[in-house]
């Protein structure tokens, strides 16, 4: 008999279709972890481990770099060239090369943070905790505000932002506040929410189907059909998540590059 939907945090472990308990719907509690010690929780551990993996990987890849690269070196160079040519030069141009280290670090930091969501054993996308995307977005905000004030002058930066040239004078009164709020306030908000919401929703989806696979598994028509379908969905969504994770890391880095480009050159 199908029971009612019960929040996951209120269900006994081992809850099953035939044991007469309701479907343990994953809720916000799956994003909370008991700290290992102090405030040190699983997301922080995964974040540090991810950073360490990136650092070690690229240290090995570029240690005594050769003209004819080894396998590790070609892989590292592929990642580097992707960020430099695909993001930095495409968006900022040649003079964006000095921002490649920043964009490169951002891309791989966000990506490995997302990637933990589908790595067995870890299975938690770090960026589904809102504080991490917010921290990254604040960093990006500080960088492009600073660059804008430095390259265009503190006052000029805001006036260039608010008054794109070529508009009828009367329209400026209406549109200038939109531009200002859009560039200063809304940018970091959408940047962080876009990353957070994608990872949050993805993790929730995967959890729903994984839990359903175990909950429904039993020797009945509903059990076999439901469990098999849920398992199939888990596999499909894991592949889908792998795509979204890389895509969100790419978008985050791309938008950072777009904002930096906007700060370096005023609109013509």
């Amino acid at each position: 008999m199908l029971g009612a939907v019960v929040p996951m945090s209120e269900v006994e472990p081992g809850c099953h279709l035939n044991s007469g308990c309701g479907f343990p719907a994953p809720d916000a509690s799956i994003f909370d972890f008991e700290p290992y010690f102090g405030n040190f929780t699983k997301p922080i551990f995964l974040l540090l481990l991810g950073s360490l993996i990136i650092i070690v990987f690229f240290l090995i890849a570029f240690r005594n770099a050769k003209i004819v690269p080894t396998k590790m070196q070609s892989l590292g160079e592929m990642g580097y060239l992707f960020v430099r040519d695909g993001i930095s030069r495409e968006v900022i141009g040649k003079d964006g090369d000095r921002f490649v280290p920043l964009l490169f670090s951002l891309f791989f930091f966000v990506w490995i943070g997302n990637l933990w969501g589908i790595i067995p054993g870890a299975q938690f996308p770090v960026n589904s905790r809102f504080a991490f995307p917010v921290g990254l977005a604040i960093t990006v905000w500080l960088i492009y505000m600073y660059l804008g004030m430095r390259h265009q002058g503190p006052l000029k930066f805001f006036t260039n932002m608010m008054f794109p040239p070529g508009m009828p004078k009367a329209i400026y009164v209406i549109l200038a506040p939109i531009e200002l709020i859009s560039n200063v306030l809304v940018r970091p908000v959408t940047l962080s929410i876009r990353l957070f919401a994608n990872m949050f929703a993805g993790h929730l989806l995967l959890t729903v189907f994984t839990v359903a696979t175990f909950y429904l598994a039993s020797l009945s028509f509903v059990g076999i059909l439901g469990s098999a379908t849920s398992f199939l969905m888990t596999v499909i969504f894991t592949a889908f998540e792998a795509l979204i994770q890389a895509l969100q890391a790419y978008i985050f880095t791309l938008l950072t590059a777009v904002y930096i480009a906007g700060s370096l050159h005023a609109e013509h």
Binding site: E90, V91, G93, K94, P164, G166, M167, I171, I174, L175, P177, I178, E179, I181, S182, N183, L185, V186, R187, T190, L254, L255, V258, A261, G262, H265, E267, H268
Partner: protein
């Protein structure tokens, strides 16, 4: 090897990313403004609604204006 791009060439795809931000900012700015004006005349909800719609119109105009001008106008399309 791609041909070197001028800053103008890069502007259009860059602008596309600001569409979402402009729409949100438009609703936000004029929604709040409309709400405040509405409070003063005792019709806060109506003020918010009118303000938000006006904000969408204004930001759509802004997006349209900037995209039209970013590639040098409709008559200066480059050969693909």
């Amino acid at each position: 090897m791609k041909s070197p791009q001028t800053p103008v060439d890069r502007e259009t795809p860059n602008l596309a990313w600001s569409v979402m931000n402009n729409l949100i900012a438009g609703i936000l700015v004029y929604g709040v403004l409309g709400y405040v004006i509405g409070l003063l005349i005792g019709q806060a909800s109506a003020g918010l609604a009118v303000g938000a719609v006006f904000g969408i119109v204004a930001s759509t105009y802004l997006i349209f204006f900037r995209l039209r001008h970013s590639d040098g106008g409709p008559n200066s399309q480059r050969e693909a």
